[in-house]
Amino acid sequence: MKKEFSQNLGFFGLFLCMVTTLLVLGSIIYFIAVRGFGVLNWNFLTQVPYSAMTKGGIAPVIVGTFYITLGAIIFALPLGLACAIYLCEYSPKSIVVNIIRISINNLAGVPSVVFGLFGLAVFVKFFGFGVSILSGSLTLGILALPMIISSAQEALLAVPQSIREASLSLGATKWETIKNIVLPTALPGILTGVILSIGRVAGETAPILFTAAAFYTRGYPKSIFSEVMALPYHIYALMTEGAHPDRQRAIAYGCSLVLLFLVLFISGFAIFLRQRQRSLNG
């Protein structure tokens, strides 16, 4: 009787924790929604801002976020995937490999503002790309790299050794095995990792602070060398600069809401994919 009671007490405690977590999430969404919902309408999402950004919409901001995120993935995915394949499939198990793995994990722990400074020094100044989509993408790409490598590694390691053996025993080379068997099987896992990095990258402010973002650009970006507006930075900018704090505040909350929904949607999609992959693999 006593055991059951303390067990139930424990479960209740856990239940409270879960409720608290949900409450926190819920309140964030609520808080932002209440303040930002007012400005959300179709125009908001599709028009350029004017009148010192107190009127119009944030379409170019959304597009800007899209471009730099896409750029980041274009840079990080092939590189990260190749790195993961090498680490998993080709490298011998040795101290060197462990050092590499630890280094990659450490890279993930670097504060995002440090990435921003790095991007400023290397891409903006040294390579001379200037503040642009290119610099921003590259910087965000480096940020995304450890995430992509980790999730790709995990996906590759989850492929059972037995089907690699089966492939080799039929007379396939190692690369044929990777290309035809391992990668297709690991694809859902890799994809999930990529999608999660997209979510992360889309919401980063500090790395794009010095490398891509501008307070205001006229219209849509013209090339990869253009500056760009992006959602995270836009929120910051609206709250700290500009001439009309009151109106801007509402727009900032509207941006936050858009960004929030974007990230939640992407996470949700990744979870959905992962569930589907699990049920396919039995």
């Binding site: 011998p92 198990k93 059972p160 037995s162 089907i163 053996e165 089966a166 492939s167 080799l168 025993s169 039929l170 007379g171 396939a172 080379t173 044929e176 035809n180 068997i181 297709p184 099987t185 396919l280 693999n281 039995g282």
Partner: protein, 253 residues
């Protein structure tokens, strides 16, 4: 009656790092016969069978001394391509391991990696292999279904069909029925008896009665050594070595 020798192990020593797993093993595998390897766990029989298709070299820090011959030629010589050896010497594993693809694609894969592109040829080959593996009737209407939907026994026959498609000459079975129920096991054993008409077969098994049922020759391994090798009928009625007898009669351990 003269037996044609298909594969041979000559003075084979094998090491995992510093640990010697096989000690001076000499054994002949005859064409169109089933050769069984029996012995307690850890005796080296699985390690040994993997030498025949060079699967052991995928493990780090292993050393092979001595020779493994296929049709008289050393399969480990630098002039020989491991990939080619593996096509000619196929393997069926303990746990069925079909690819997470359709049944058709599973069989097609082997042909693809061996450079065969002709669609009609591939289709014919897929059917032939599935027929030879006695599974055609069960899957002919669902070749595009995932192979993972098949039962354990069917999956194992699919894996056998996979080997047959690439026209192996030797089939190595590493405890093929270990994870199957008795009826599936019986089907696979019948299949092995059919297949030996066209292939040289080597089977590693924990189950002595299985070795007695399907094999023509049996080798008894203990702690890395081949203790005795001979006709299955002799080994099971009148083994020469006391250790063999102790193992076979269950007085072991």
């Amino acid at each position: 009656m003269d037996n044609q020798i298909k594969m041979q192990a000559k003075n084979v020593d094998f090491f995992y790092g510093k640990n010697q797993a096989l000690i001076n093993v000499n054994l002949d595998v005859y064409a169109n016969k089933v050769t069984a390897m029996i012995g307690p766990s850890g005796c080296g029989k699985s390690t040994f069978i993997r030498l025949f298709n060079r699967m052991n070299e995928l493990i780090m820090h292993t050393t092979l001394k001595g020779k493994i011959l296929l049709d008289g030629l050393d399969i480990n010589s630098p002039l020989v391509d491991a990939v080619d050896v593996r096509r000619r010497v196929g393997m069926v594993f303990q746990k069925p391991n079909p690819f997470p693809k359709t049944i058709f694609e599973n069989i097609k894969y082997g042909l693809k990696v061996n450079g065969i592109k002709d669609k009609a040829f591939i289709e014919q080959k897929v059917e032939d292999s599935l027929r030879k593996a006695v599974i055609w009737d069960e899957v002919k209407d669902r070749l595009n279904d995932s192979a993972l939907k098949l039962s354990g026994g069917q999956q194992q026959r699919l894996c056998i069909a996979r080997c047959l498609a690439v026209e192996t000459e030797v089939i190595l079975f590493d405890e093929p029925c270990a994870s199957l129920d008795p009826i599936s096991t019986a089907k696979i054993e019948e299949l092995i008896l059919e297949l030996k008409k066209d292939y040289a077969i080597v089977i590693v098994t924990h189950n002595m009665q299985q070795a007695a049922r399907v094999s023509d020759y049996t080798g008894f391994f203990l702690l890395g050594e081949l203790i005795e090798f001979g006709k299955t009928t002799d080994i099971f009625t009148a083994p020469q070595d006391k250790k063999t007898e102790a193992y076979i009669t269950g007085r072991f351990g």
